[in-house]
């Protein structure tokens, strides 16, 4: 089947089998290998991308389901060679060690911040809403700090 979707602001097309997962399409067809496959069972969140602006696990979505829709991957987050405030905060707060979970963490963090932009964000919110992402090395403290710092840097009320 031919599919056409918007990936990181660019219209991309490809020929896929119906059983092709979105993450396979992104990594193998488009070469966007920033989106990782961790558990492949929709638990770890390493494959998180945004579909029409909302975080989803791309290992549990068929590429054909994204037909005509907009996908943002980690490659689409930095603009003009400058790190997004969320990426900068992960670096600043040591929110990563091996970095395998980081693309998914950043995409989830963007979702958390977007959902709380009008209401403000607490540490408890961040911990609860990072439940879909697993880190196996550095632990979560630096990640939680990074999300809170990024939110603050983006002008969102924190605390």
């Amino acid at each position: 089947m031919k599919i056409t979707l918007n990936v990181n602001g660019v219209v991309r097309s490809g020929e896929v089998e119906p059983r092709t997962l979105l993450v396979e399409f992104l990594r193998q067809h488009l070469g966007l290998t920033g989106t990782h496959v961790g558990c492949d069972t929709s638990q770890c969140g390493a494959c998180t991308v945004h579909l029409d602006g909302r975080p989803v696990k791309s290992c549990t979505l068929l590429a054909v389901q994204a037909e005509g829709r907009s996908v943002t991957t980690i490659e689409g987050v930095a603009q003009n060679g400058r790190l997004h405030p969320v990426q900068a905060a992960f670096k600043e707060c040591h929110g990563l060690q091996c970095g395998f979970c980081t693309p998914g963490m950043v995409m989830s963090a963007l979702g958390i911040i977007a959902r709380h932009k009008d209401t403000g964000l607490t540490e408890a919110d961040v911990r609860h809403e990072l439940e879909g992402n697993l880190c196996r090395c550095t632990g979560y403290q630096g990640i939680v700090n990074a999300v809170l710092m990024a939110a603050k840097d983006m002008g969102i009320r924190v605390g």
Binding site: S42, V56, V64, Q65, G132
Partner: protein, 264 residues
């Protein structure tokens, strides 16, 4: 995953007709269970009918004392809906406790009910609030919907269109979540509705069930004390690596008392 054909019907009528024409076809709602099942080769449909493009299956409406939720409405939308939060806060809380944010952005009410996982949250809401499941061909009362482990009253090819939740006087949902999956080890919805008090349990048995003894006690006195001595028998409850049947029976009492305490 085995190979399959894929279609994206534009209407309920089209989806149902295509399903009726192929006994080996499968509906795809949010895919949070079906896609992992396909990946494990536990299912082998010839044809996957993606319901994602059917506008009439989506949306939330509040009118005449009833909250109506379209079958393809995702959990995140129910959790965040100002209308639901105002009319039935317990339903919004329940939807917001399913899985994680990414799962809530894909998983749907209709998919959850049709799948009838014994540990899913929504069955407790449907049964506890006395909802009505509207399909492409009939209305099914919650009390008639859940039949057993992954078994519902739905006929082959019958498609859930929407669910009507009567707004209760008060309701609360409490669950003991599995710390990894957030599925309910035990979840209890307690509601005082126009038709009486309802106590519905998910996670504990093969499918969601009511607890008549607790309902009767709460009808007399809506208080934690009224159900303090009441327990469900562990005989037919689930026992697995996460919890024994005895522990689940104990949790039913704990979650029911917490739910009552939240709204008494």
């Amino acid at each position: 995953m085995y190979a399959f054909e894929y279609l994206r019907p534009a209407s309920v009528a089209d989806a149902v007709a295509r399903r009726a024409a192929n006994a080996e076809a499968s509906y795809l709602a949010g895919g949070m269970t079906l896609i992992p099942t396909l990946k494990q080769r536990l299912a082998r449909p010839e044809l996957v009918l993606d319901l994602g493009a059917i506008a009439e299956l989506r949306g939330i409406a509040v009118a005449g004392g009833v909250v109506t939720v379209g079958a393809m409405t995702c959990h995140a939308d129910v959790a965040a809906s100002p209308e639901v939060r105002q009319a039935i806060p317990a339903l919004a809380v329940l939807a917001g406790s399913i899985g994680d944010p990414q799962v809530r952005n894909r998983g749907t009410l209709g998919g959850s009910l049709a799948n009838a996982d014994p540990s899913a949250d929504y069955p407790a809401a449907v049964l506890g609030l006395g909802a009505t499941v509207q399909t492409d061909r009939r209305a099914i009362a919650a009390d008639d919907f859940f039949k057993g482990l992954f078994e519902t009253a739905l006929k082959p090819g019958e498609l859930i269109v929407k669910v009507a939740f009567p707004i209760p006087k008060r309701a609360a949902y409490m669950k003991h979540a599995n710390p990894a999956s957030r599925y309910a080890v035990v979840g209890v919805m307690v509601a005082e509705t126009a038709a009486g008090v309802r106590v519905a349990v998910t996670g504990a048995g093969p499918c969601a069930f009511r607890v008549p003894a607790m309902e009767a006690a709460l009808a007399k006195s809506f208080s934690v004390a009224a159900i303090a001595g009441l327990a469900v028998p562990a005989d037919e409850l689930n026992s697995d690596m996460h919890a024994t049947a005895d522990y689940r029976a104990h949790l039913v009492g704990v979650m029911a008392r917490r739910a009552v305490a939240a709204i008494a």
